[in-house]
Amino acid sequence: MFNANYLIALKSIWRKETNRFLRIWVQTLVPPVITMSLYFVIFGNLIGSRIGEMNGFDYMSFIVPGLIMMSVITNSYSNVASSFFSAKFQRNVEELLVAPVPNYVIIWGYVGGGVTRGLMVGFLVTCVSLFFVDLQIFNIFVLILSVLCTSVLFSIGGLLNAIFAKTFDDISIIPTFVLTPLTYLGGVFYSISLLPDFWQAVSHFNPVFYMINAFRYGFLGIADVSLVWSFSVIGAFIVALYSLVAILLSKGIGIRS
């Protein structure tokens, strides 16, 4: 049962998490903005002008939603992964474990921090993109829902990573070897209709593809697969990962001896 005390606890965890990444804004907010600016300049302006159109839109307009989503994904994920692992490493996660805080409050507190950073970075990258492209919004509701769900999903993913992590290497392995390839192959830079049939089919197993698909629809009104299917996949991943994290925390795996 949720009571007022849990709400205070939730706000406290969220505030702590938000203060953490704001305190080190040079490490957390500036780098993704600079990286994405380079993407806009190189892929959008320099190379993009030679590529021409993609699905009826100039290349720059096509890749902007994917690049915004890419920054949301990596920042939501890495915020929770590094923060929760640091809390384990410094053992200050014990502050939460000895307190009467249910596991779901801990999960949503950390996810709240990850989502806040993800959305903040996404907003900053969107602002930068306005220097390169005349951004239009086709469906604000789809746009907000897709970016929010994606941020939640990857924040939970980061938490899952941190629960299992035993060293700092463990929290960089998944982003490097799983998250980055999935994002690059999820249709940030191309429409999957350009791929041969086999690779199109393979792309449908990539959850990031559905997120970028829905987000791009919000901006441009074009989609490679239906929105219902995209949100169903995202929802299913959220439920699955959340359940896994909740079970792990209740058993004390990775946090209690």
Partner: protein, 306 residues
């Protein structure tokens, strides 16, 4: 009512190490209780289980009547924990650490700020409230952990070696503070390697060795088992080492004598004999190792029994 009631607690870690072998222990409300034992005896595991940082293998734990298996959150609300190692975020300032901790217990920010000010002032940390915690000295960090544990005003305070690595002046001020909050009604359980600390502060004592409780009694009754007592005498430099058939005596330095007496022997006779040998006694104190003697005796006995 018992502040804590442990019944047959066992803990077997992965790999088969049996850290606790069926410990049963009660600590009364309002007590100042020492939990002693050599390194690796199971003290921290016991504390970890009570504060739910360690999952027990079997047994029952209740905190002020709340069973940790069925009423975990109520049980947790009663406990303030000061762990052995610094476990706060070293990048956060003390004020933020305390306010966050209060929030986890459902205390509103306004009230949390008030309490943080109270405890930071009481523990001489107010001036450092906005400084990153990693810049605090060892003693300050220990006091910060005590302040953090008190933020939700727990009925039971558990301190796992709170004065480790702290200089004597700070240690004594911490003792005074702990005595004060104990007098205000907070039950305290303390583990320490400084047996003098346990002797000075605690009314009751439990000794754990190899995962078993080898002693659980009052400090007074434990100390009364000592057949002899050692006194340290500060004297004017003697011209010769005094001798006596009545008591054993040794000179530890130029102006200090150590004498050992049976409980039945009289101090009057000691002074008379020393005076007759031209020794002038300027001051006298107990040698504070009485508990240490008993501790070693009990632990060694346990080793032989095994």
């Amino acid at each position: 009512m018992h502040a804590i009631d442990l019944t047959n607690i066992t803990k077997i870690y992965k790999g088969g190490v049996e850290a606790l072998k069926g410990i049963s222990l009660q600590v009364k409300e309002g007590d100042f209780y020492a939990l002693l034992g050599p390194n690796g005896a199971g003290k921290s595991t016991t504390i970890g289980i009570i504060s739910s940082l360690v999952n027990k293998t079997a047994g029952k734990v209740s905190v002020f009547g709340y069973d940790i298996d069925t009423q975990l959150e109520q049980a947790k609300s009663q406990i303030g924990l000061v762990p052995q190692e610094f476990n706060f975020n070293q990048f956060e300032p003390p004020l933020q650490i305390l306010v966050n901790q209060a929030g986890y217990y459902g205390i509103k920010r306004k009230e949390a700020l008030k309490r943080a000010e109270k405890y930071l002032k009481q523990l001489d940390l107010w001036e450092k409230r906005n400084q990153p915690s990693r810049e605090l000295s060892g003693g300050m960090k220990r006091r910060l952990m005590i302040a953090r544990a008190l933020m939700h005003e727990p009925r039971l305070l558990i301190l796992d070696e709170p004065t480790a690595g702290v200089d004597i002046e700070v240690r004594r001020s911490m003792w005074e503070f702990l005595q004060q909050i104990n007098q205000e009604g907070v039950t305290i359980i303390l583990t320490t390697h400084y047996l003098e600390e346990a002797e000075m502060l605690c009314r009751n004592i439990g000794i754990i060795d190899k995962g078993q409780l080898v002693e659980n009694t009052s400090m007074k009754s434990l100390l009364s088992r000592l057949a002899t007592e050692t006194f340290i005498l500060d004297v004017d430099p003697p011209t010769h080492l005094p001798s006596s058939d009545y008591f054993s005596i040794k000179q530890t330095d130029e102006v200090t004598l150590e004498i050992e007496l049976d409980k039945t022997q009289s101090l009057n006779k000691v002074f008379t004999e020393l005076s007759s040998q031209g020794i002038r006694v300027n001051s006298m104190r107990n040698k504070a190792n009485r508990l240490e003697e008993l501790f070693i005796e009990l632990v060694e006995k346990g080793t032989k029994d095994v």
